[in-house]
């Protein structure tokens, strides 16, 4: 299976939900953009098609467009042909209302990834069983440190 066949396969799986497909350099990663409301249905279909786990969850902040782009990187262990590729399932949510739904019931590995997105960007995943900060302490998580408008405090270098 080459990457064109993968794109065709993903388009066939998701059919009308696909808004845009980008093949990244290296031909082993494609990014599929879908609509926010379709994410659960899309994840269910992708899981049935053989993408059995989430490798990673990435959030990108676009302050000029006023959106957060949430990307679930899916791949496969059980299907050998799909395991060479990673498919990014991406969708945008508005920046001023950072709420979306969890994929925890479909992909169990989304648990910690979504908690990290919650602590770093302040995105709430509805339906998540345990929506607490994962690594950061609660006061730091409240600052939402990975947002683009977060300003780090300048600290001088002065040893004692």
């Amino acid at each position: 299976m080459n990457v064109e066949e993968l794109v065709a396969k993903v388009k066939e799986i998701l059919s009308d939900m696909v808004k845009d497909v980008v093949v990244h350099k290296g031909n082993d990663y494609i990014e599929v953009e879908i609509d926010k409301d379709n994410i659960i249905e899309a994840a269910k279909r992708m899981k049935q098609a053989g993408f059995d786990h989430i490798k990673d969850l990435t959030v990108v902040d676009y302050p000029k467009d006023g959106v957060f782009r949430i990307i679930y990187n899916l791949s496969s262990y059980s299907n050998r042909e799909l395991s060479y590729y990673i498919v990014g399932l991406a969708y945008n949510i508005p920046r001023d209302k950072p709420e979306t739904v969890t994929l925890y019931p479909i992909y169990t590995t989304a648990d910690f990834q979504e908690r990290e997105a919650y602590e770093a960007f302040g995105i709430t995943f509805k339906g998540h069983p345990d929506m607490r900060p994962l690594l950061l302490s609660p006061p730091v998580a409240e600052m939402k440190p990975l947002r683009k408008d977060f300003v780090v405090k300048e600290e001088p270098i002065d040893l004692k």
């Binding site: 690594l135 950061l136 302490s137 730091v140 600052m143 405090k153 600290e155 040893l159 004692k160």
Partner: protein
């Protein structure tokens, strides 16, 4: 100990214990010159606590391995803070870990010493100006710094030798016995409560 109805007979008058102990300490320290002995003893019983804050902990572990053998300097990592007197901060200290560092530091018996290891412990290193780190000298008084990213195990050995020299040269330990605190080092109190998030 009690007298016969407070009539004065059979009473044992005990002087001010603090004053008595202090003068006894002074006599021992000045006339018998026990100070050097105390310093010598302390210099060769530096027990670092096992508190691996970050990745420099690997080099810390290697420093006590057979190849580098820091035990020859009279220092051996020990498990519980109550039985240790040296804290080696290994690398970057995150805000969550700062609470643990401070708690361990407060549990250790006096006289106690601190070594900051690695570039992150000096000024932040690659995490300089990050939102989630604390410089160790903001929460505990540091005696010796080891630069490097990460420092080699030899550097850890050198830092311990340097600390021993400092103890013997400045008489840190016997001054602590005389005064009751370390006169060479200021008391460091964290600017903000590092455990506030945990206490709730």
């Amino acid at each position: 100990m009690e007298g016969n109805g407070g009539k004065g007979e059979g009473k044992v008058y005990v002087g001010n214990l603090d004053v008595a102990a202090k003068s006894a300490r002074k006599i021992l320290m000045s006339s018998l010159r026990l100070g050097k002995l105390v310093d010598w003893g302390t210099a060769f019983s530096l027990w670092p606590v096992h508190l691996t804050t970050s990745c420099c902990g690997c080099e810390f572990a290697a420093a006590w391995s057979p190849r580098f053998d820091n035990e020859q300097h009279g220092a051996l990592p020990w498990i519980a803070p109550r039985q240790t007197n040296l804290i080696i901060i290994e690398g970057t200290v995150s805000k969550k870990m700062a609470c643990a560092v401070r708690l361990v530091w407060e549990q250790m018996p006096q006289p106690k010493f601190a070594i900051a290891m690695g570039a992150c412990a000096l000024d932040g290193g690659i995490f300089y100006n990050s939102y989630n780190i604390v410089r160790p000298w903001e929460i505990i008084p540091v005696d010796v710094y080891i630069p490097g990213c990460p420092p080699r195990p030899e550097s850890v050995a050198r830092a311990i030798v340097e600390l021993q020299r400092k103890i013997k040269r400045d008489g840190v330990a016997h001054k602590f016995v005389e005064e009751g605190w370390r006169p060479d080092k200021e008391y460091v109190k964290p600017k903000e409560d590092v455990c506030a998030w945990w206490r709730g």
